[in-house]
Amino acid sequence: MATGILGIGSYLPPRCVRNAELPGVSPAMDEWIVSRVGIRERRICLEDQATSDLAYEAAVDALKQANVDPADIGLIILAASNHDMVMPTTACIVQSKLCAKNSMAMDIRAGCAGFITAAVTGAKFIEDGSARYVLAIGAEVHSKMMDWNDFKSSAFFSDGAGAVVLGQVPQGYGILGSYLMAEGDLADALVVPAGGSRLPASHETVDQGLHNIQHDGKKIWRFATRVFPASVREACQRAGVEVADLDFVVPHQANIRMIEKCMEDLGGLPMTKTHVTVDKYGNSASGTIPITLREAVDMGKIRRDSLVALTAFGAGLTYGATVMRWY
């Protein structure tokens, strides 16, 4: 037997904010955002929603699709950047909400590459027999750790969650090869400086906006356009397949131009072999891949036997890809 995805769930907060609704955005700025980033609108959580609330909804959706009882989950891995609290883990909060009483639960932090990191790590627990089912979740609430007066963040980041149930699938299906990597030397490209042990929360850190996300767009662009194609190639090699044989690629949704460039750099894969959600959901970090995957499957773009690559890059900087035969 092999390990694959048995069910996918997603949760998009009901509040939709169009570019024109961002304070101060003129029609000319709206057009620029659409043309340069590809985002027309984004989803933002409600005031009383936290990361675990989004994660829980996505998890319930995935469990329902997989027809798996929460009591049969052996491990919950949750990827996020903005957790409910510093302690305990958000995964434990979700475990309690799900009544998944027979599960270990842990968080990982790998920025926008968090979901892939969670899924690839979780699959190992199934492969070695430690868990029958694993719930891998990517959830993000960017809206509560950004400066809404800084368009660099408010036009770009969003909230959302996705989840998959991993379990055994027939040999030849499921995960065929994966690749995870980090380049910590580039850690300063995407940071929330304060709130940790280096710079604990204080009046000064709040006044200086150091609890908000800060990112170096050009450095991340250079990194992403290098590692996106490279990670897909490496995962394909480990899977024993050719990039040209891929039926579908589900990339992290950060920027439409980046997706177009990287598909081109993968030997000219056509855009019909991917699915774009950044235009309507924005960049929800570790949420984007399961959200996009779910939509692509629901639309029939991914079917039984499809050869699919998932790929992401994010804070750390981290990146990775996994190639699977869809079951």
């Binding site: 101060g24 003129s26 000319a28 620029w32 955002i33 340069r36 368009f151 660099k152 036009a155 450095k219």
Partner: protein, 78 residues
């Protein structure tokens, strides 16, 4: 009122001594397509302008390009 150089320096976080009409987005890591929105917003606020869609990419060329767009709108930039 701030000079154009002061405004660009403040919004992009670039030392004012580095800001000149020849400065392009390629010269400054901080000047990317998203931070350009902050710059356009600051220009709108400072000069009380409403830019046309074609103005925004035209200003993503250089500080001199911004000055030209402002001049075309009748704004005397110090």
């Amino acid at each position: 009122m701030r000079s154009l150089e002061e405004l660009v320096s403040e919004v992009l976080g670039v030392p004012i001594g580095q800001v000149s009409d020849d400065m392009t987005p390629d010269d400054v890591d901080e000047w990317d397509s998203l931070s350009h929105i902050n710059l356009v917003f600051a220009l709108q606020m400072q000069y009380g302008l409403s830019f046309d869609p074609a103005d925004v990419p035209a200003m993503y060329s250089s500080v001199g390009g911004i000055r030209s767009v402002l001049a075309a709108k009748g704004v005397e930039v110090c």
